[in-house]
Symmetry: C2
Subunit: 596 residues, 2 copies
């Protein structure tokens, strides 16, 4: 009963009118084939797949969930999932962004991100099965040996195999330094992996012929902590150096979790009992290799947040137009109906506009980050690549942290617009909130993102990414200094950017005296940064819309949504700024024993 | 696996040290029996019941849910629910606050609210069964004829029967003016009720011998809209004027809803097919009578929010102390452990302190409102009763709106502290978030509370309640003007109170020019008001703790939590103020057709 129509008009506006993807990708070596025609065709086809194949099995997947057969240690995905995956493979989607040399289509990552947004709007649980493969591809590309790439990348690209990331153990999630899984070297250069991993998404399922686990483990002589972690590739069915698939490996799913949401995405306890595996990258440098996967995965989880914001918005909007209840405060708007539709009421509009501003602004933020990623890997000169790498590294925790947090609020709003009807399973919106709830947790909690942003990207790396981003905002403000149509946005944006810069310096100075100041400020700083970034993208949206050939209605909608954003949402920065400035003392003063 | 220990120390502090309940109830006629000894004994016993009887069946109740047997139109509650209700009845809890004349114990409503908080912390789904009876009692007390009170109140008080409120129909929830259920007068003075009601909590179950439905319906000659609604009492088994229980009435549960949470609380579609009922109160004045129930129920739902905040906090705190992960930024705090417990990390502390500040501050807000309610019904002079009635009428939407909204954030925080372990059903915390999600919806959404607060209690009624409350805050500030230990709280509280008053005037002026300004400001105004009110209660907590015989550790905890509240949470008012001041234009400008 829920609706989903891929927001292609807004996606194209973001990609082409705002981000200038057409010209950008024409000049990036390796992406010349990604012309507008090709991209348009890919987006149309992805929209069809998401709307017609994935959306219809979202609610049923939630209700049915995955089932584990303990005896055979096999997992059955919900009805329709396997067939959808078959169509996905046949459509060539598994290799969308993989280099041609491994059989992929080598399209830009930004195109992959857009396809992913549609998949996640339609069926975020289903989307987790291909998502994890993407991380494995990235890690193998960057750190695998030639034979490993040959043996594993091709079948993953072809969709015959899928991937996982096996990090978490019962006693350690965030703190990977504590992990205990062991890897013993064998005479033939392989390793025997023994240990228990938990929370393994897509650890076992019936969609593919083999599952390639990327597993963090310790070598016998490894130093303690995070400096003694290595990365291994451990397939469900053994794979030799020749790439041939062999017998069942000594690993199996032990149980699957019952979760609040993403119930159709299987979450496994994986037991490795001396399973054969291969080292990827250098010994004890596993965390490094893992971060290659993780960064991609973090952006991708941000896109999940975006997808759920969009899906919730579409449903809330439809309901707000259909459901009649009470009269407008200014008098009946639809006198022929028994009451006015919900959309006439100011606070319903506030909730709808909040969702809309998050969806469209968040989309631009995410796609901007992905275009920077593509430039960082394919840019023509090293300066450009480095600059964009610094930008994407700075933006990754914002995209992940902000969009997943905003997804909490937006899916809350979607339910609230539906009222009591939003709380019952039938209408489908409560599922979005349950599904969204994991996104602020997996691939690093909001706390981890915030510490990565403030502790590492700003303070340790001296804020290179922020500097570039602020320069860009400054340039944009200057460029539009005389533009009367933009004046209402440029002035507050310039102030916000200046304050962002000053606030960052303030925290930096405080942190020198007390390391707890970083953790005390981090989450509020992430929100603060995110809201200023969205203000920039909303101002840019208005500028780009005005300069575009978009219909007048489209321009009007962008203008009013931007005004709403600046009037209603950007002021939240004031509360975050005050919280940041209050410092660590009020957090740290209460002795642990006196909390309750 | 989840914990719950009734927070008796904080409850007693709020009730006796802050609110002076001992002296207060000694001087209120009718409550003289509610001395400290009696109340203490009641609280101890309620804590035991909540902890030992209700808490153990909370998670199992969520997993099992209620089941409907369509053939017999009967509902079976989860395992243990019936036995718990039997114990509840035997303990005399069903009559805790009912007047002695109907067989009750006639304790103050504030005592009922405290018992309810414990019940809701332990098992909010179970709590819904007795909760609805309370509303029926209130409506019958205020509007019932003598024989109705005799026939219905006694069995409800004794716990042999339970009550419901039947308002919502498929096409109308908030907008009761649209309701279609009909009532046809019969020669014997009774009525035949026909129609379908939805979302009926406890509409059918196996806990009691009879279920007394209070049903809104229209008389044949009723004027359209809300002025044509009457209230009827329609029991599952017929009840004559002599109170004798007769045959099955022509009403039945049609189906039960599958919901996001409160799964053990049954939500029924109720079909009335010419069911026999009796009019309560005057014809066409049903909404009036209904509001008697509703106001009680609204405060009670606020208490549900409070109960869930407390429960989530206790579990998050325990986990934050037990789970070790990473080292403190300032160096290892527990070098003998493999890592430090989560509670050393600043943002974990921020989340814990937020929950603690909401729980303890929210408790005081709620209990304050209930004490005002008790004074309004039992006060010795009319001025006192009226003043307190105005206060409680003003506070009701704040208690309901704020505490249920804060429950969203607090239960989010509880899950977030647990990380991935919070998302799986086993640990139990995700249930609190799912259970909490209904509280901002039923008994009037946050939007309805906000419009009730700003549109009715402030603007229509000229803010009598706010005036009293601000006077009280002013008096408190003056009283402690020279108190150095309180200076850090008094100054910002006085500023906030002044701004609250000014902001209210501003909105009032704007609203004269444009009625949409009310709806545009309302939700932000509710949050704004709530945060200032909590600041007052936190300042009072510190003052009361300092003046009390509480242990030094207790005083320290109150002081630091208050400091945290003023530094980190009160500044949120600035964002709400900016949103309010931005006015209705940015909400109303975008044409309905251009939302997407």
């Amino acid at each position: 009963m829920t609706v989903y129509a891929a927001p292609l008009a807004d996606i194209r506006f973001a990609l082409f009118d705002v981000l200038g993807a057409d010209a950008l990708y024409q000049r990036l070596p390796g992406f010349e084939a990604a012309g507008r025609d090709i991209v348009d065709a890919v987006l149309d086809e992805a929209a069809r797949f998401a709307e017609q194949v994935l959306a219809p099995i979202n609610q049923s997947g939630d209700q049915e969930g995955c089932t584990l057969d303990k005896a055979s240690a096999s997992v059955t995905t919900p009805k329709g999932f396997k067939e959808a995956f078959r169509q996905y493979v046949e459509g060539g989607w598994t290799g969308l962004t993989t280099p041609a040399v491994y059989g992929g289509q080598e399209l830009p990552e930004v195109v992959g991100a857009i396809v992913k947004e549609m998949i996640d709007s339609a069926n975020v649980s289903w989307g987790n099965f291909p998502m994890l493969s993407h991380g494995a591809v990235e890690a193998l590309k960057a750190h695998g040996e030639d034979w490993q790439r040959d043996a594993f990348l091709k079948p993953i690209t072809e969709g015959r195999w899928t991937g996982t990331m096996c990090l978490t153990e019962p006693h350690c999630g965030t703190d990977l330094g504590l992990l205990k899984t062991r890897a013993e070297p064998q005479p033939d250069g392989s390793y025997r992996i023994t240990g228990t991993k938990i929370f393994i998404t897509a650890g076992e399922h019936d969609l593919a012929d083999n599952i390639v686990h990327l597993v963090l483990a310790r070598l016998p002589d490894a130093p303690p902590g995070v400096k003694g972690i290595s990365l291994f590739i451990v397939p469900k069915f053994r794979v030799g150096r020749d790439g041939a698939q062999g017998e069942r490996n000594a690993l199996a799913v032990g149980s699957i979790e019952h979760k609040m949401g993403i119930k159709a995405s299987v979450t496994c306890v994986m037991n490795f009992d001396g399973a054969d595996g291969w080292l990827i990258g250098a010994p004890n440098k596993g965390l490094n290799a893992m971060f290659t996967m993780m960064n991609t995965a973090r952006l991708a989880v941000g896109v999940q947040g975006l997808g759920l914001i969009e899906r919730g918005y579409q449903n809330a909007l439809r309901y707000a137009r259909e459901r009649v209840q009470m009269r407008a405060a200014t008098g009946p708007r639809y006198p022929d109906k028994p009451a006015d539709p919900l959309i006439v009421h100011p606070d319903i509009r506030r909730m709808l506009l909040t969702q809309k501003a998050f969806a469209e602004g968040g989309r631009l933020l995410a796609l901007y980050a992905y275009t920077r990623h593509d430039i960082s890997t394919h840019g023509t000169d090293e300066d450009e690549r480095r600059r964009n790498e610094e930008l994407v590294s700075f933006l990754t925790p914002i995209v992940k942290g902000l969009l997943t947090e905003l997804a909490q609020e937006a899916t809350y709003d979607a339910i609230q617009v539906f009222g009591g009807h939003g709380y019952i399973a039938e209408t489908g919106v409560e599922q979005y909130a349950r599904d969204a709830r994991i996104t602020t947790i997996y691939e690093g909690t909001t706390q981890i993102q915030a510490n990565d942003l403030l502790g590492r990207k700003i303070l340790q790396l001296r804020g290179a990414g922020l500097k570039h981003f602020l320069e860009e905002i400054g340039g944009f403000c200057q460029q539009h200094a005389g533009d009367a149509a933009l004046a209402e946005f440029i002035a507050p944006l310039a102030i916000a950017a200046k304050e962002w810069s000053e606030l960052t310096l303030e925290i930096g100075q405080k942190a020198q005296g007390n390391p707890d100041e970083v953790g005390a400020a981090a989450v509020d700083y992430l929100f603060y940064s995110g809201y200023v970034a969205l203000a920039y993208f909303w101002a840019r949206s208005v500028a780009a819309a005005n300069a575009s050939a978009q219909p007048a209605d489209f321009k009007t909608a962008k203008l009013h949504t931007a005004r709403f954003y600046f009037a209603r949402l950007l002021p939240r920065t004031s509360a975050h700024r005050a919280a940041i400035r209050s410092g660590a003392d009020t957090l740290m003063a209460l002795p642990d024993a006196l909390f309750g």
